[in-house]
Subunit: 314 residues, 2 copies
């Protein structure tokens, strides 16, 4: 599985690395870890982000982001990391041609490169990059370890998600032995929020309502709320998990007003299949997480949602 | 180090297990894991909690809590787990006599048992219990794994604290291989809160103030707030970390009104030594976490605290 991508890296002289639009910690950590690994082989490599992609908290934690000056046109190998399909490359798509490879962990990966390395059991692409370093015979140094560790904790919620495997912990153990400040990294990724986040969070709690003896929790945020708060929705994206984090809640509903209607996210803690609920409103998703768009008043949207959830509650 | 305690367990017929007052996840998980390990040797064992100690969310996650009917007076070995000193046993102290052993990870452990096994490098007593099972030749089953894993995540903040070591991850990998629902355990420990918690949290955000260009954050909760909320302070204990989780904050201050005055908790994100600040007000603690009690009006308490923090800000 690894061979063809490993061979491509071994044979390349200059490597351009791409990741997906609005890159998360895994996309950033994996890309820059791979850059440093290729550098360790004595080859040039650079990560090519889209403008603005460096404006995230995770980016600040990543090592090796100093621009080497390498140009895409001079590269004889292009590697896409953490990208499930070509479209996810965004505007970088047009540069992804010639000799290409992809390293990814999405089980939905739609092959688009000449050589593909997909490990769907890996909870983060970072975990695959760890193996790539081993196969290339590269000694993982502190900077590489820092990037891989950041990638892994971002995509596993710091080893909380069910996608975490025994191997994930084995890799974490190895990375810690190399020497990384795990407390600082996890604090910066998970336990540091802007003042605006707390303001928005407070508004969210204000708007929280319980139904069906506390089994359904609904949190709604209107356009007016967003304006009043003066915060971006992106800022409070984690708020989607607030309703279902309340003790006793089976289904958590998060509704936010958008120009096109009320965007609804449904989360199930138990056996209730929220994809079926979303389907009723023309949406879809998985058993535990689904979504839909409702074009009506907020009151009506809430009412019909609660009614439908109550009907399907298990 | 392990020998004498292991020998005692091997030679015992019936074992009474104790842990500390208001037991946390590590104290509970370690005690019940040890009970099941001793059971696996064909010996009787029981954990003796104080009344009310079973009223925690963590207790509900622990396996093996069904009472076996074993009486303390019939036990020929008493083991204290996760207890740094005799006083921490609370009212169970009087039963801790005769043939005794202690298993603990506190580096401040004050020896009080006939045989002592202290591993200060272990971030949780649960990690030591894992080794105890190995030394006793007991195969760790799913229930024991569940208890040890719960113990470890509770005392490491799910592998976030700097006390976490490579070994902690190695143990987690082994426990996962046995088969435990890590996503469910971590969700129940960390991501499930009562509705009252959110109400109190909201009040906390309401009362949040920033000083010194956002480098100092102060959160105060008065007796009147507590009454209005109708929630116990215990419920919102995690709120102590809210002020310092704001981006840019160097020192977080949490003040709550008590009958005896304003209880102050200071937390440092950077190099500012909060123990020195607490000392000014007759308190004490560590560089990163300290506390004191101030007897004045809330306004004066806040003013003098902010003044002192500003002075010592690094």
């Amino acid at each position: 599985m690894f061979e063809s991508v490993i061979e491509k890296i071994k044979n390349a002289r200059k490597v351009a690395i791409f990741n997906h639009e609005s890159p998360d910690g895994d996309a950033l950590g994996s890309a820059y870890a791979l850059k440093l690994i290729i550098n360790a082989l004595g080859k040039q490599a650079e990560v090519f982000l889209r403008p603005g992609d460096e404006r995230t908290r995770e980016y600040k934690l990543i090592k090796g982001t100093e621009n080497s000056g390498l140009k895409i046109r001079d590269c004889d190998l292009k590697i896409a990391v953490d990208c499930a399909d070509l479209e996810r490359l965004g505007e970088m798509k047009e540069f992804f041609c010639g000799n290409t490879a992809a390293i990814d962990h999405h089980f939905t990966h739609a092959e688009f490169a000449n050589s593909t390395l997909v490990v769907p059991d890996a909870p983060a692409t970072g975990e695959i990059i760890f193996d790539v370093a081993e196969k290339l015979g590269v000694r993982i140094d502190k900077d590489i370890a820092n990037n891989i560790y950041t990638a892994i904790i971002c995509d596993t919620g710091n080893f909380k998600y069910s996608s975490t495997t025994p191997k994930t912990h084995m890799v974490a153990a190895r990375l810690m032995e190399i020497g990384i400040d795990i407390a600082s990294l996890s604090k910066q990724v998970f336990d540091t929020k802007s003042f605006g986040y707390f303001k928005a969070y407070k508004k969210g709690i204000d708007n929280l309502e319980l139904f069906a003896d506390g089994k359904i929790a609904v949190l709604s945020i209107t356009e007016a709320d967003f304006l009043e708060l003066g915060v971006d929705e992106v800022l409070i994206d984690g708020i989607v998990d607030l309703p279902r984090s309340i003790e006793g809640v089976e289904v958590g509903v998060y509704i936010r007003e958008r120009a096109e209607g009320f965007k609804v996210s449904l989360r199930s803690n138990g056996d209730t299949d929220v994809a079926e609920i979303a389907l009723v409103f023309g949406g879809g998703g998985h058993k535990k997480a689904a979504g839909c768009l409702i074009k009506s008043s907020l009151k009506e949207a809430k009412q019909s949602l609660v009614q439908e959830v109550e009907k399907q509650l298990k």
